[in-house]
């Protein structure tokens, strides 16, 4: 299987030595994590270390728990009744379940982009600065600056800069998803989670988003859930393969796709099941 990987940008540490992926600082640490929807167990003893400022992809067949794991990083699963967990998830050493940390402040540090783009029925401008508005920011300069920065960061600025006050619902599908990305980075989070961001988009829009992901990883830690293995091999630095709630294998992307350690991984990648 051909592996077209993007140019791995070589980061240098303070001494000027190039840093390998595996030497990166760990951003998210999942330790022996079990997760239950009521009685049924959705995640079984997950262990994974997500390095910072890299793209980590979660792949696996439907129902294997990728979205569940992703949504645990910003505690979106709290919306569901009857959930419980064992083990811990730590972001920069601090548990997401830390009683001293409010869920709201956690979600400001961990942004999320959903599978089906969900802009608010407001103007483009208001959509982007929503996070700032709910924090009470009123300064016009700060807001304008944030809008420009976020839209540029999401590669949408040139297309919408003349119609910021128009309704966001008038954009095309690909533009709406990029708007959601802009909205997520307006807050300058540390981590951006993406749950199958391109599954509802056409190939050209998909390509744009993938390009965006590669740019965004310079500033943000990205975790992406995807069904599309080519996308995972194109965009990500680290890939984790999940099956039936367990993390079967985690490795650098080119290693996982070219030389998988587990037979299950190899079967999935070569399309024998999944």
């Amino acid at each position: 299987m051909s592996n077209v990987s993007t140019e791995q940008e070589v980061i240098h540490d303070s001494d000027g030595n190039p840093v390998k992926t595996s030497d990166r600082k760990i951003c998210i640490e999942v330790e022996d994590y079990d997760f239950f929807y009521g009685e049924s167990q959705a995640l079984i003893k997950n262990n994974i270390s997500v390095p910072e400022k890299q793209v980590t992809a979660l792949i696996g067949p439907s129902g294997c728990g990728k979205s569940t794991l992703l949504r645990n990083f910003n505690r979106m699963n709290d919306l569901i009744d009857g959930i419980s967990h064992n083990g811990d998830i730590k972001i920069y050493g601090r548990s997401v379940y830390d009683p001293n940390q409010e869920v709201i402040s956690l979600r400001k540090r961990v942004g999320m982009v959903f599978q089906k783009s969900n802009p608010f029925p407001k103007s483009i401008y208001e959509n982007v600065i929503y996070s700032l508005r709910i924090q009470g920011v009123k300064d016009r300069c700060v807001l304008d600056e944030t809008v420009e920065r976020s839209l540029k960061g999401a590669a949408l600025w040139d297309e919408v800069k003349d119609r910021l006050k128009e309704s966001a619902l008038g954009l095309s599908g690909g533009q709406m998803q990029r708007l959601c990305i802009a909205r997520a980075i307006a807050n300058e989070p540390e981590i951006i989670l993406m749950d199958e961001p391109c599954s509802a988009l056409d190939p050209i829009a998909t390509a744009k988003i993938e390009e965006l992901i590669t740019q965004l990883k310079k500033d943000y830690t990205m975790v992406i859930v995807t069904h599309n293995m080519q996308q995972a091999s194109r965009c990500s630095d680290i890939t984790a393969f999940l099956y039936l709630g367990e993390i079967v294998e985690v490795a650098d992307t080119d290693i996982l796709f070219n030389n998988p350690g587990q037979k299950q991984t190899e079967d999935y990648i070569s399309g024998r099941f999944g």
């Binding site: 910003n74 979600r107 959903f114 783009s117 929503y130 996070s131 709910i134 709406m176």
Partner: protein, 563 residues
Amino acid sequence: MSEANNQDRGNKPERLDRKAVSGEPMVWLSGMGLAIGLLLIIGLLGVIVWHGVPYFWPKRVVEVTVTPDTQLPGVEAKTFNGELRMQRLKADGVTAESQFYLGNRDIYGFSFKFLNDSSIEKMSYPQGLISIEREEYGGAIGYPVKLVLGNGSEIPAESDGFDGQLEELIDEVSQRRKDIKKLAKHKIGKVNDRLAELKFEEIEARKEYAEGSALLDSELGGIEEERAKLEATYLKLEKELNELYEEQEKDSLVYRLASGQETEMTLGKAIDFHYPNRLSFLERCLLFLSKLWVYLSEDPREANTEGGVFPAIFGTFVMTLLMSILVTPLGVIAAIYLREYARQGLLVRSVRISVNNLAGVPSIVFGVFGLGFFIYIVGDGIDNLFFKTKAEEGVATFKTGGMLWASLTLALMTIPVVVVATEEALAAVPRGMREASLACGGSKWQTIQRIVLPAALPGIITGLVLAMARGAGEVAPLMLVGVVESANELPVTGTFPFIHMDQKFMHLGFQIYDLGFQSPDSEAARPIAFATALLLIVLVVVLNLAAIIIRQRLRRKYISSTF
């Protein structure tokens, strides 16, 4: 298709199945259902319009001569004038009879007369008949003879200047009538109100200060001084009023009935006149519109059978508005809690079912609740706290029906509608929008306030429209909590506190009930009852249209793409 028919002759069941499957009978059935519904509505409106609108249309006056053997008790003569109001068959299904409006109730003692058509020998439409609308005893119908002015001069009806002079005099009289009303109601009324207040102030002063103390004496002195001043003002105003009344009486009109009998009326009682048989179609239309305008803008006269219904329109409008203002926040907040915050369990489900069932409680029960709780308990408390002196003298401010209690009772009655509509609207907001807001770091309340509520607004307004429609039409509870058939003042006036929550008011629905069942002259009342019913429907439609337009505007803003 015919070939298929021939081939399928032996295969009948298949053909039937196809028709049943295509659903064609259901299409027809549902179309018929809709048609029946529409017909019912149109029919109802048609009946109301048919009976109500003719009330405003100026009719010609007919001169009827009856056969020599017909007896006309009360009229005595064999000829009389009247408006032809109605024609119908008697109970036996054979005899035709006609109803005439005679006017001149001061002479005949009654206004309406039924006559068998067979008794009528001759009918004509004389040009010379005049119809005068009066302050009392209904209208006057007859032949004008002459004007007798205060200075003694007389103007015969045949002279050229008669009509002009009559019009001039009646304009003068109408203006003076307005002045009298202003004087009597406002100026003298204010003086009387202040005198009544002084009485209570005196009682309070006597209670507060010891008998014989200097403070008491100075208080009482001040009160006496003001009282003396007010009474002097009162005497002056009363003299002015009497002068005006005298002026009204100075001119009079002599007119003649069809029987030849002459009679005189003071012009001070006249409101308007016209020659009914001389009007062109255009003039009739103008008169129609002017009668309509009078109906909408004037106060009622003669036990609500004449004049206008403006106070009732105003009262209905203010009450419906107040009810909406009270019910919307209450219902929306309750729905938000039920849907968003309460833990969905058995308790919440029972609450929801109870609220829904509240919509089925008969409205009179709400009236009784309003009377028992709001008036007797809460009103009593308020009176004892804030209006103690008056309460002890037996004068009730809030312990009796009023605008506040009526609006509150109706708001309670319409809460279920708003709660249900709001809950549905909240549930319909797409999950994706909520998740997006939460993922941006919004709290649950911020999500509701900024995203969910605005998106649910069209549905909430639908609930409001339904609530207003239900509330505006209810009469039974209002009878117990604050509506009267005749109120002195409007509930909103220029004096502080501007909206008088403790005041009783008039209501269109109650007017209809009053006219239909409690009117002394039910024949005269019938056309007005229909006209008032039509007006109530129009008022509710106007309120609903306003809400629907607002909802339409909001919907356009919040249409979510289906992508």
